[in-house]
Structures are given as C-alpha cells and as structure tokens.
C-alpha cells in the first residue's frame, strides 16, 4: 500500500520536477517567468503531436523541448531585450500557451479518426512503466525506484545535472552572479544578455518536456485539451519550496506529488478529512517554508536578489 502510494507520488511529481527545474534555471539568472503553465501546455501539445505522427519518443521529447525554447524565446526577447515587465509577460505567455495548445488540440481532435487522437501502440509501449532488469526485481525498492517510465529517470538526471551546473561550474557561477547582481556581473565582464538568454531558453525547454510528460504519460495515450490544468502553477510554487535548488526540487516534487495523490490513498474509513484540506496542503506547506526561509538570515536558499528586476545597463 505504502509502496503503491509512493509510486503514484513519483508519477504525479515528475511533471512538477521538470517545471520546477526549468523555472529554477530561469529565476537563477534573474528572471521570474510566470509562463510555466503556458510553456508546459505548448510542450504538451507539440510533444503529443510529434509522438502521434512519428511514433518516436526521442522526437516527441525533442520537439517538446524545442517548442519550450521557442516560448521562452518570446519571453526572453520581451523581458531581456525590450525590458518589458516580467510578471505581465509571463502571465501573457501562460494565456498564449494555453490557447495555443487548445487551438491546435481541437483541430487535431477534429481531424483524428473517431475524434480521438491516440498515440501509436509502439510509442505507448515505449512509454509504459517497465522494471529495469535485475534492479527491478528487488522487493519493494525495485518497484519504488526502478520500475518507472523512462521520462521519470530523465527528469531526475536533468535535475541533478542542473544542480551540479549551477553550483559547481564556472558558467553556473556566472549565471548566479547575473541573477544576484547583474550590474556587478556586467562590470566583471560577463555578457549579461547572453547569459540570461541561454538560461531562460534552457529553462523553457525543460518546462516543455514536463508538459509532454503530462500529455504522453498522464494522458494515457489520448490527447486531452486540459492536460496541464494548473500543474505549471504548482511548479512555480514548488520553486520556493525547493529554495531554488534543483536537487531539492526532486524531493519537493515528490512531496507535492504525494500530496496530490494523498487523498486517494488515505483510507476514508480510518481517517476522514475534508477534501479541501488535501487541496490546500501543498500551499500551506509552501507558506510554512517561506516563513522559515525568511526567518533564516543566510543568503543561501533565498530568491536571487536580481530576480524580477530588468537590467538596464544605462541605469548603473
């Protein structure tokens, strides 16, 4: 029972992990992108459509990544080059991405046989949960850690790579410098605009894969116009919960995923709690985490100082 619950939690948490990791990359470079929901929606549609047409998991994920990059490019051009307000641009991107996926989604449904666009059987098989040979046979742990669909492992790998990149490489250091104090980074000879562009685009691509996870895996192989349905917003909240660390985001997304399925695994005949409690739980925990991080005086685990503020070189 517990194993089933944790297994479901991992499955539910993975799209959040992608969204959160992508948003952390964006925020660490000093830009708050509220367009996660929109980028995930675009990734969901394009990833699904590519898989639907080609049957290839690699192409589907690459296409989702590419459209995420494209969506983030719109955002980056507006906020970094044109210095538009970041919050407004992000919200607009969410509205645009949602409309984009639903507009094309409707057309895909209308064109599909029986009005039901289904992924090819070989792709569904490739995406299904499979136990890794030997490791998957270990009792309990095998099911819990080594029996997932392939995108789950990809998500964990990306989160680890991003974590190492941010904290252990020179490029990551430059990026953090830009996020904390772009003027100082500029003075140190870092190309602020280039650094921002690269990481916003990479973050968008990662969000796009998260969207593809929702349409390919959670959707069960049939397109649904509302497949993202607010997951992008939870990912934004999770960034705070994970205190801007991709590695902590792995744990965070597992916890948030657990919360989202908790109501179905708590036996009703033993513990009866109002449903609203389960819905509010992730956000309650986020508030508590916010309170604790603000009480803690250290700079570590805080939002990058330059986040949300556009950088004008002339303002220095």
């Amino acid at each position: 029972m517990i194993i089933n619950f944790l297994f479901a939690a991992i499955k539910a948490g993975t799209p959040l992990l992608f969204g959160t990791t992508g948003e952390i990359m964006t925020q660490k470079t000093g830009n708050l992108n509220l367009g996660v929901e929109g980028m995930m929606f675009m990734g969901a549609f394009v990833g699904f459509f590519t898989g639907y047409k080609t049957g290839s998991i690699t192409l589907a994920l690459l296409a989702a990544f590419a459209v995420g990059v494209f969506a983030a490019l719109i955002y980056a051009f507006l906020t970094v080059s044109l210095r538009a307000n970041q919050n407004v641009t992000g919200l607009t991107l969410t509205i645009f991405g949602t409309g984009f996926a639903q507009f094309f989604g409707e057309r895909m449904i209308a064109a599909a046989p029986d009005k039901s666009p289904k992924l090819p059987a070989e792709l569904v098989a490739a995406l299904s949960e499979k136990a890794i040979p030997l490791l998957g046979d270990i009792p309990y742990i095998g099911k819990l850690l080594f029996s997932h669909n392939i995108i789950v492992y990809l998500g964990v790998c990306i989160a680890f790579i991003c974590g190492i990149y941010i904290n252990r490489t020179k490029a990551g250091l430059n990026m953090r410098a830009v996020g904390e104090n772009p003027a100082a980074a500029d003075a140190a000879g870092i190309n602020v605009t280039a650094v921002k562009y690269i990481h916003i685009l990479a973050g968008g691509g990662i969000c796009g894969i998260g969207g593809a996870y929702l349409s390919l895996i959670n959707g069960g192989g049939v397109w649904n116009n509302s497949c993202v349905n607010g997951q992008g917003w939870i990912a934004v909240a999770l960034v705070i919960f994970a205190s801007w660390s991709p590695v902590k985001a792995i744990l965070g997304s597992l916890i948030f995923g657990a919360f989202s399925v908790l109501q179905f695994y708590v036996p009703k005949d033993i513990i009866e709690l109002p449903n609203a409690f389960y819905i509010a739980l992730p956000f309650l925990i986020t508030i508590i985490v916010l309170v604790f991080t603000s009480m803690k005086k250290s700079k570590e685990g805080a939002q990058p100082a330059g986040c949300g503020i556009n950088y004008f070189r002339e303002d220095r």
Partner: protein
C-alpha cells in the same frame, strides 16, 4: 455638529433616491411580465438558441461533447443555420458572474432559448429568468422551475447505470470494482448513479464489492486518472466512472484492466478496456424543447425522460464484455422498458445495515436525483 447634520441629510437623500429607484424598477418589471405571459411563435429564421457548456465540445468525448451532439442533432432536425446556435464554452459552473455574463451575451445576441448544461448554473438561470421574462431558460440536471420560462431537464440515467453494472459484474475476476465519483454522498445525482450501478453488479455477481473514490471535481483529467490508479492499486479490475473525461478509462486500459465509461461511447478512446457506457441522447430533449419554444407552446414544465423516451441508454457492448453479458442486459432492458423492473424498489439496505426502502415500495425519481445520501450495501467509500 455641522458634519453630523450634513451626513444625516446625505443619508436621507441617498435612502430616498434608492427607494425611488426601486420603485421605478418594480413598475417596469411588472409591465414586462404582463407582456410575456402570452408566448408568440417565432419564425425559423429569427430563432436563436444559446448553449452554456462547462467544458469544450471539441474535446471529442465526455460530458460537453455529448450535450453538444444533442444540440447538433436539434439543429439538423429543425434546419437551423450555424449562426443561429450560440455556444459559450468552458464556463465554470461555480462562477456565478461568468455564468451570468455568458448568458447575457447570448441574450444580447438575440437568443430566445438558453440551455445551461451544468448543475451549478441553476440559481443564476433562475434569477435571469425573472429579469428576462421574454427569454426561455432550460437547465440540465437540477430540479427548479417557475412554470413560465424556466425549467430543468434530466433523465433516468440510473436505468443505464444498472445495465452497465451488469457488464461490470459479469467481467470482474477479483470481485472488486472501482468507481471514480465526482462528488460524495452530498450529491444525489452521483450517489443514485453509484447505487444503481451497484445493484446492476449485484444482480449478476452478489459477491462483488464496489470501491468508490471521490475526486470532488467533475472535470480534472489528472485527478480522475490518479483516483482510478489508486483503485487499481487496491485490486479493482473494472473501473467505472461518474466524471467528464476519459482519464479513468485510459488508466484502466494501461494497467490491462476493464472499464465502464460515461456520457458518450468511450470504446473509441479505450478500445482494449471499455465494456459499455451509460450514455445520454440529449438530442431527444433539445429537439422537443426547441420546437415547442418556436411554436410558442412550451410550458416550462420539468422534463424527466427515461430509456423508453430514448433519452438514456448504454453504448453498444464492446468485444471485451464477458460471455453472456448481452443476454443478461437484454433481459433487464426488456424488464425496464415494460416497467416490471423499477431498480429502486424494496426492500433495499444501505451499507450501514439500515433498511432504506421497504418491501413493496419504490423510491421516486425526484428522490433518486435530489435526495439520496445513502450507499447501497455492496458499496464502500475508500
């Protein structure tokens, strides 16, 4: 002192102006009300119908899609142009302001008849029916009516639920059947459906139990799928649903289990899992009502159709069904149609051991859709 006096005078003036404003509004209302008591026939080319959907008909399956199929059927039967049907999609039914705006937009565009297809629109539509006596309002799945221009329509979907329960009861091997329910026992429509399904299961498989998980949402593919997976984790091998999307069906299919859909035939979405689905043929009602409104003969009485009207049925049995299912279902269907099987007739026991319906009594349709808070004896909410 001066200030106090001034405020006193201002309050008096305000109160007076409010009172006079109310007075004029009242007189205007009563004059329009007298005009509207006689209903006039509307020419075909002037007739416009507004439809408020909670989801998007373009989803290709599920609740809004099924309602819209009925609207399309009505449109074809009557010969209306596309421009004579105005749809408002994705109107959240908990959002009274959005509901009001959507309906008022329809009225502004000249609709004489508005169909609201989701439970939560009911109170807003009742208010609007008062404000716009010349417009006809028809609301699905509720119970209110005003006898002049506002009614509710619904049907005996429990008859179809019973039949789908037979298919599920014949198929299950673990004798555990999962049911993803949108609402808990505070919602009689859902609870009555679960009970009818459970009785259908019991009629062919007295050992089987029905495990219910409540999502508290009509429409959320992620949650619906997660609830279905939790039920599969508990050992259920057939998943039924009272939800608007196909997510529970697909969850069942991906685990190699079986399923019963709802609203529309979901065999096309989950061909390896789906057995049969209780379905609505809303076109029967939409055509009837639109015709009556056009002819000026609509009486705004509540409508409650059943299998004999063709309003509800089950989708064609898929090849996944167990052997003998078709015969059992045919037998029960014949009894429902000739009236010898009422489904909710005594004696019935709930899952706490209370007798909720005595021998020889039947529960009324109004109670099944509006007043049922108990679960049948083989149902367990998990």
């Amino acid at each position: 002192m001066k200030k106090k006096l001034l405020s006193l005078i201002l309050t008096a003036v305000m109160a007076a102006s409010v009172l006079t404003a109310c007075g004029t509004a009242d007189s205007k209302d009563s004059s329009t009300a007298t005009e509207s008591t006689e209903k006039e026939a509307i020419a075909l080319e002037d007739f416009k119908v507004g439809v408020i959907h909670i989801g998007d008909p373009a989803d290709g399956s599920g609740y809004s899609f099924t309602h819209d199929q009925g609207i399309v059927e009505m449109q074809e039967e009557l010969g209306l142009e596309d421009s004579q049907v105005i749809r408002k999609n994705n109107i959240a039914d908990g959002d009274a302001v959005a509901t009001r705006t959507a309906i008022e937009e329809c009225i502004e565009e000249g609709c004489q008849l508005i169909f609201g297809t989701s439970w939560g629109y009911m109170d807003t539509m009742e208010e609007l029916a008062e404000e716009y006596p010349e417009v006809m309002f028809s609301h699905a799945t509720g119970y209110k009516s005003n006898g002049t221009n506002f009614n509710n329509y619904f049907g005996r979907i429990y008859q179809a639920r019973f039949l789908s329960g037979i298919a599920a009861g014949m198929k299950t091997e673990t004798d555990k059947i999962g049911y993803v329910a949108a609402m808990d026992n505070q919602n009689s429509e859902v609870t009555g459906g679960i009970n009818a399904f459970a009785m259908g299961v019991e009629s062919v498989n007295p050992d089987a139990v029905i495990y219910v998980k409540v999502t508290n949402t009509w429409f959320d593919p992620t949650l619906e799928g997660q609830a279905a997976e939790a039920l599969l984790d508990m050992g259920c091998d057939v998943i039924a649903q009272h939800q608007d999307t196909t997510a529970p069906q697909l969850a069942a299919q991906n685990r190699g289990a079986w399923s019963c859909g709802y609203n529309s035939d979901m065999t096309k979405d989950a061909p390896k899992a789906h057995l049969t689905a209780p379905i609505w043929n809303w076109g029967v009602y939409y055509t009837l009502t639109a015709k009556a409104v056009m002819e000026g003969t609509w009486d705004a009485a509540n409508y409650y159709g059943g299998m004999d009207d063709g309003l509800v049925d089950i989708s064609p049995l898929s090849e996944n069904c167990a052997e003998g299912t078709a015969e059992k279902i045919e037998e029960a269907r014949a009894k429902i149609l000739d009236g010898s099987l009422k489904i909710f007739e005594g004696s019935l026991f709930d899952n706490e051991g209370n007798e909720v319906c005595k021998e020889g009594e039947t529960i009324s349709d109004a109670d099944i859709t509006g007043n049922m808070t108990w679960y049948y004896k083989n149902v367990e909410v998990k």
